[in-house]
Structures are given as C-alpha cells and as structure tokens.
Symmetry: C2
Subunit: 483 residues, 2 copies
C-alpha cells in the first residue's frame, strides 16, 4: 500500500472512511517510513526494531540489491534476534500473526518459534498459481501445520480478482481478540494482510465497488475490516486499553500499475526504490482517551519505532547491550513532542540515503538497470528526474544530492551545492551518517543463498491433508536479485 | 493553488486545519474542475457560468494558446455577459469582490459596472515591481478609484515574501459581512485572494511558520483567514444561512516550483495544461444544517457550477435563451445525487479534452514548445509520459487518448485502442462532444489585441493621489501568447 492510498492522504477515489475516521480520532503521521523499500526486510525490521543490515535481511551477492524471501530462500530470521512477541511474552502478552510472515519458511524460522503463540497465514507471498512441479503453491498455515495452499484450498481467481482471504484474516483477528478479552489477557495482534499486494484481490461483496478497479476494491475491504476490528474493541470496552497502529511495509509497487498498484501520492517512484514513493508510508495511531483526536505529528517515524513503542507500552525495555534502531514514539503520541533523529534508507547492503529534519541526502541513486527498464520494468512510470531516477547505480557519497522534503516532497529539485542551505544540511547530516556507519555491526546476511530443495514441497501437516509434494534435489546457489 | 495543497487532499505539511475542518463539517469534491488552466478565463467562467469560448476569454491569434488579461490587454468582459452579481441583485443581494478581478481593467470592464457593489483589490496580477516607465505598477482599487499601487502603497517584499495583502483582504471581507448582517441584507462575497500566485507572499506572523517555505506560509495565512471568516459567520448566527464554497481557478503553477508553487498531488503537470494537474481543483462546500457533515461527493463538478448553484440558492434562474455551462449542484450537495455531465477542457480556441464519467479523452496533447522547454520553462517538472506530455501540439481527434481517472488519476496509462473499455468510452464521449461542438456559438474573442496605451498609467482616482503616469502611445498589435 502506498502513502497516497488512503482518503485522508488524498486518494481521489476516497475508499477509506474507516481509516479516515481513525485519523480523525487519532494521530496522523505524514512523515513515517518503512524500514526498507521491500517486504521481507521491512517486516523483519518491524518485529526486531532493527535495520535489515543488522538483522540479516539483506544480500551481499551484489551491492545495493533488493532481496526478500521467495520460497527458494535458505535464510530467515536468526535465532539471535529478539522479536517483539518474544519480549512481550515477558509481560504476559499473547501474540498472534494473521497473514504474511515473510521472515523465512524453513522450520527454524517458524513464527511460533519466534514468540508468536498463534499463526494463521502464509510464509511467503501469494504469487502463483504454480504447477506444483517446478514450484509448489504457497501453503497456508494454522499455527504449526499447513491447512491448505493458495489457489487450491484458498482460491484466488486471477481473472476476476476474487478471494476470500481478507474475510478469513478478519475473522481470525476478531476471534483472537475476543478470546484474549474473555481471558482478560493482554495481547499483541500483528494483522499482516496482503490484499493490496499483486495479484490484488477482494471478496465478492467488494469486487467492482470502488472507482479504481480491483486495487480500490481491495482497499475498501481492508478499510471495512479495520472498521470492524475497531468496532469490536469498542464493543468489548477495551478501546481505551488497546493501542492500534496502521501502516505499510513499502510504497505502492508502481511496476504493477495501474491494475495492481496503488498510489504514492505526490512522491517519487515506488516500491524497490529509496525515493519517497518507495518508503514513505501511511501511518495512523489510535488510542482513544490517550492520543488526542485529530492530531498531525510531523515526527519523523519509522516502522521500527513500533517495536520500541510497543515495549514501552508494555512496561518493557529492549534487551541491554543490543542495538535498536526504533524510537519510543510515546512522547510524540501523548505529548506532541518532536524528537530529532535520522532515518536511514538502505537497499541491500548499501546506505542509499538519509533524512534528518526536512533534508534528505542521497548518497547513491538507482531505480533499476537499463536492461530491465528497456524490457518495460518501470519503478517510476511517468516520472523522470534527470540525474536522480538513474538507471545506473550512481555514487554521490562525496557530494550527496540533497532535497528539502517540505518544499519539494517529490524530490524534483536538488539543492544547489553552493547554497548555504546545502552546506548547513550537509554539516548536520554528515556526522549523523558517520556515527551510524562507524558503529554499525552488520548481521550475517540471510538472503544470499537459494535452493529449490527448500521450497514449500512438504510443509508440516501435509501428510494429514495428502498434500505433500516430492522435494526438488538440493542445488544451492547464490540468489539472483535483479534490482 | 493546486488540488494537493490542502491537508485534506494530502499535502504532507498539513498547513490547513481550518480548511480541513470545512471538509469535515461539509462536503469534499475530489473531482472538481476549473473552467480553464489559466486565471482570467477561469474567473470569467466562474462569474458568467459559461465556458471562456462562449464568454470571449480566449484568443484566436493562434490555436490552443492560453491567454489572459495582462495590463496591455485591450479586451475584457463583454457587456452582453450576465454576471452572477448582476443577477443576484434582482434578489436583493449586495455583492463585493475582494482581491483580483482579472476580467479587464479598462473603464468599461470595471467590476462595479458588472454587478458588484463594492470592490477592494486589483484588476491584474501582482507581478512586479515595475519601473512605472515601461510598465506601471498595478493599481489597487477601492470601489471606483485607485487607492495606491502594488510595491508602493501596498508593498510586497520580493526578497522576504512579506506582504500584508491577505490581512487587508480578510479585513475587507469581515467588514463587508458585518455590514450586510447589520442591514439584514443577503450578500455575495467573492473573496479572490491571490497569496499563492507567484510571487507568493504572507504577512510577518506567518512567514517562516510552515514546513515548505513561503508557499506554505501563504497557505497557512489563507487557511487562518478562512477560519476567521467562518468564525464570524458562526458568531453572527448566520452560518446556517450562508453557503460557502472554497476552490481555485487553476492548478499549481509548477513552472514556479519549488519556491513559488504548490502541489497538484498525484496529478499530471500543472497550470497552463489541460492535464489533471492544470485543471482539477480542491473544492469544499460548507453550509451547516443543510449539507451533511463529512461527506465526499464524486459528482464531476466545475467552477461554472457555482454560478448556477448560487442562482438556485437565491431562487433565481439563469436568463432564458442563454447558454449556461454550469450545473446546479444542489442535488449533489443536499441529496448526495450524482448527475451525469461532460467536463470540457479548452486551451484558447481548442477543445483539448473531455471527461465523462471516469473516462477522460484527449483530442490534443501539448505542454509547451520545445523552444520554451529547452529554455527551462517546464509545466511538468519531473514528469514525462511518452506521447502524452508532448512538446508539439499533437492531434488525436480521430482516435483520442483515453484514461480511466479512477485507476489512473495521473494520466500515465492510456487505454488500449483495441480494448472494449476504450470502444465503450469513446462510444459515450463521441456523441457528447459532437453535440457540444455542433451547438457551440463562440463569443467574440477578447484576448487578441494588446496595446501599451491601455496599461494602468492613470487609473481613476490617480489625480487625488498624485499618482497619474503619462500613458504610452497607442500601438495596438496582436498579443503574443507563447503557450
């Protein structure tokens, strides 16, 4: 989902009355960032509070390449990482993930081995359909075992876009909340829906109801579901004891536009890039009685802040001697404070850009290769900023391109290198980057090796369903990441 | 001002709490259009309810050229046009224009000759400063006579952006409302502020207070002023008897970006073009107790609709046997109805495009000439859609480019000519255009002739102020419109 996909962020079709009401009753962050322009690294960062370069969700096969967790990936979330649900358990929280996990699908990476008590969803993206010969269809799990596969027990109609998955995910979430409330147990629900990820889908009652086709239908169903979830919290009388945050893991994938991609509003490019369109996200916080209604916070926020903020809410602290990139947002949420902090934008192993205050400095620029671009793979359709949306990896480490994101949120007008504003901005950004890089200890890269043998041939539980497939022979090799 | 400049339309800096509240208390139109991508023609259309091609605010010096009313223009609003304040007078309304008139500055075009009872403001744009030799500074009028000139009695500091004009315009508006209320007289206030027109300006208390420089400061001052105006209506107890509409005359002038231009949100290009960025406008309707709060209307709206809607509110009808392009929006405003209607986009004498339902067809595409573009005049900075943002005037009258504005508000992905959707859309659009063109009677073009003798050398009242300048010799010639 992109920054511009919510009505309250300006989407002309206005499909999100419930989310817009969340903003009206809570706090809107216009400058909130994912931890990465791609799904798996961003989600790993959300749950660890740490940049992908630390938690291992990156590749060193080549520089500045985006990598994720397709089903041939060998790596996943390292045991050494402390995940949010693991830590919340210390405060008595029950934790459930509904939807896409994406932190590795081999047994050692299973979410129930990393702090979650329950899971309903899938380890990988709902790409497909596959032939179950070269590639198996992606399994859907309930807790430890698979209960079916996408395009089989969990159909997604590629023609019509019809799928009931959001409804299933909604019901799972509602049930979990009710169950915890009945037990008076505090809970952490990670509702990781994926209806706006290509191939986008919606259930029959929502199909054809929006002004912008299947993507808008998916938005409407997500919005309706959010309304039901918050309605349940209200109905159970626990709204004032439940902190809700809505955001996304990366910008809209404009490469799938217009049928299967949303909007990044006024921002440059989309998913896969470290321009604003790839990393700036819708972000709404809701906590009636605590967060004042209808507020806007210009705090620079990050997906990783949800880790630290959640711990603070539970009265916990991150493990000592452990580097956390997330910030505790409670001073911003409850007292309207603004905290100075840099936001780092990585692509794989490479620090591409950083924002500090209103200035963003690009040390490297790249969209994708000329070769891919000429084949029609375009991360910035209709957009072209000379010297910025480059198709070769361009180095600017000595003299970064600097934009003022207030006057120029679309990253179209780099500051003049000779200007006082440029010099002052660089004078503040330089030391922040130096400190970050000098103290950085990169994690063991998890996204380097791929092997057809590790694909979802025979997930736990397949025997009971008669759905085990014969694994491919092991042939580990360096994963090939095109961009 | 552009579509994307209000918080409620997604501007990240969120400078407009008062206007956002207008939306929350009233109705927001995401698909509302100016009558032209340029100021004078759009304003003439607002006050006449008629397209510029009918009311004469266009040029035939060349095809598809934007024209307006600089101070050397000989033409202006024809006496044959029926202006909104002229008609409202029949229902007892007092009318005042505060700010920029722009419908001609020669005596016969004076707003008090065309229905207004009062005027405070200027006939032309606040460009300058001029030397009063080759060009006089633009006068500021109170009613029939000038009371000073921009950059003289009404300073605008080009360095700092400081000017008190919005505060003066606000006070004029407040005083007018109070005066009419005291007399229990119905009123029409046309509050035509121009702080977001380059050179943008704000008064001292607002300078430096926004996140996006002088443009944002100007936005904040306009927003604050709207809050005060609505506060007065509430304070006087006439909010429920006063219809308020907020909109703009064209999209943000991206050619002045980033210092002196705002945001067109996710739309293509800006002022001067018939792409969405040039013509789609923020539009908010407010009428407590009548318009339900917090509504969004997907009605296709036009600036010209304010003419017809205002007459309807006053219990009047447009003159019979007179072609009006505006629609009465009351069914949309009061009953949430959607009315099918085409929106025509002209550039000068040329019908460039039309929207019907969700489909927009371009019969001609043009931004500006290669010659201008190579000099750095760019109406679409950072944007480039191949075959769409053309620098030669490209004809598509036989096979228009058609976009679906729901799925593709940014006009980046023309429909495939062979698709069923294209054929169906063309099947609906074709007859609507044919009907429009067959019945069209163009007005006498007013924007063809320029003459240095008609500039604001010696406006009425200059004698009292000792500010008369010696007129230039008459040298009428065809005005030169570069784009």
């Amino acid at each position: 989902m992109g920054w511009g996909d919510l009505g309250v962020y300006g989407e002309p079709s206005r499909e999100t009355p419930n989310l817009d009401r969340v903003a009206a009753e809570g706090m809107l962050f216009p400058s909130f960032y994912s931890a990465n322009p791609l799904c798996s690294p961003s989600r790993a960062a959300l749950l660890t509070g740490r940049l992908p370069i630390r938690n291992g969700f990156y590749t060193t096969n080549a520089h500045a390449k985006n990598a994720y967790t397709p089903q041939e990936i060998v790596g996943g979330i390292p045991d050494s990482e402390h995940l949010l649900p693991e830590l919340l358990r210390e405060a008595g929280y029950a934790s459930k993930i509904v939807g896409k996990w994406h932190l590795g699908h081999r047994p050692q990476f299973h979410p129930l081995r990393h702090g979650f008590d329950e899971w309903f969803g899938s380890p990988n993206c709902h790409f497909g359909p596959y032939d179950n010969k070269a590639r198996p269809n992606i399994p859907v799990y309930r807790d430890w075992e698979m209960v079916g596969r996408y395009y089989e027990e969990f159909p997604i109609n590629r023609e019509t876009g019809e799928a009931n998955l959001t409804q299933i995910y909604l019901q799972e979430a509602l049930d979990f909340i009710k169950k915890q409330q009945a037990k008076a147990r505090p809970f952490f629900l990670y509702w990781a829906i994926d209806a706006t990820h290509a191939p986008v889908y919606a259930s029959k009652p929502f199909l054809g109801t929006s002004q912008r086709g299947q993507y808008g239908d998916a938005m409407r169903e997500i919005d309706d579901s959010v309304g039901r979830l918050l309605g349940l919290l209200r109905g159970l009388g626990i709204a004032e004891r439940t902190f809700v945050f809505f955001t996304s893991d990366n910008g809209a994938a404009l490469v799938s536009a217009p049928q299967h991609a949303g909007s990044n509003g006024p921002f440059l490019c989309g998913k896969q890039t470290t321009f604003e369109g790839g990393v700036r996200e819708p972000a709404l916080a809701w906590w009636p009685g605590h967060i004042p209604a209808g507020q806007v916070s210009h705090q620079l926020g990050s997906l990783m802040d949800l880790f630290t903020t959640s711990l603070a809410l539970a009265g916990l602290k991150p493990p000592s001697n452990w580097t956390i990139d997330g910030l505790d947002l409670l001073p911003a949420l409850l007292q309207g404070k603004l905290m100075d902090r840099p936001v780092f934008y990585y692509r794989g192993d490479t620090l591409m850009a950083v924002t500090l205050g209103q200035h963003k400095a690009h040390f490297w620029t790249w969209t994708n290769s000329w070769e891919e671009f000429r084949k029609g793979v375009d991360f910035c359709p209709g957009q072209n900023v000379s010297g910025v949306t480059t198709h070769t990896l361009e180095e600017h480490t000595k003299l970064p391109l600097i934009f003022h994101l207030g006057r120029d949120p679309g990253e179209r007008f780099p500051l003049n290198f000779a200007s006082t504003e440029y010099q002052e901005a660089l004078g503040r950004i330089g030391p922040a980057v130096q400190q970050h890089q000098e103290t950085l200890v990169p994690g063991e890269p998890q996204l380097n090796v791929c092997d057809p043998a590790v694909m979802n041939w025979a997930p736990p539980g397949c025997e009971k369903l008669g759905k085990c497939l014969k694994p491919a022979l092991s042939a580990p090799e360096k994963c090939s990441w095109p961009h």
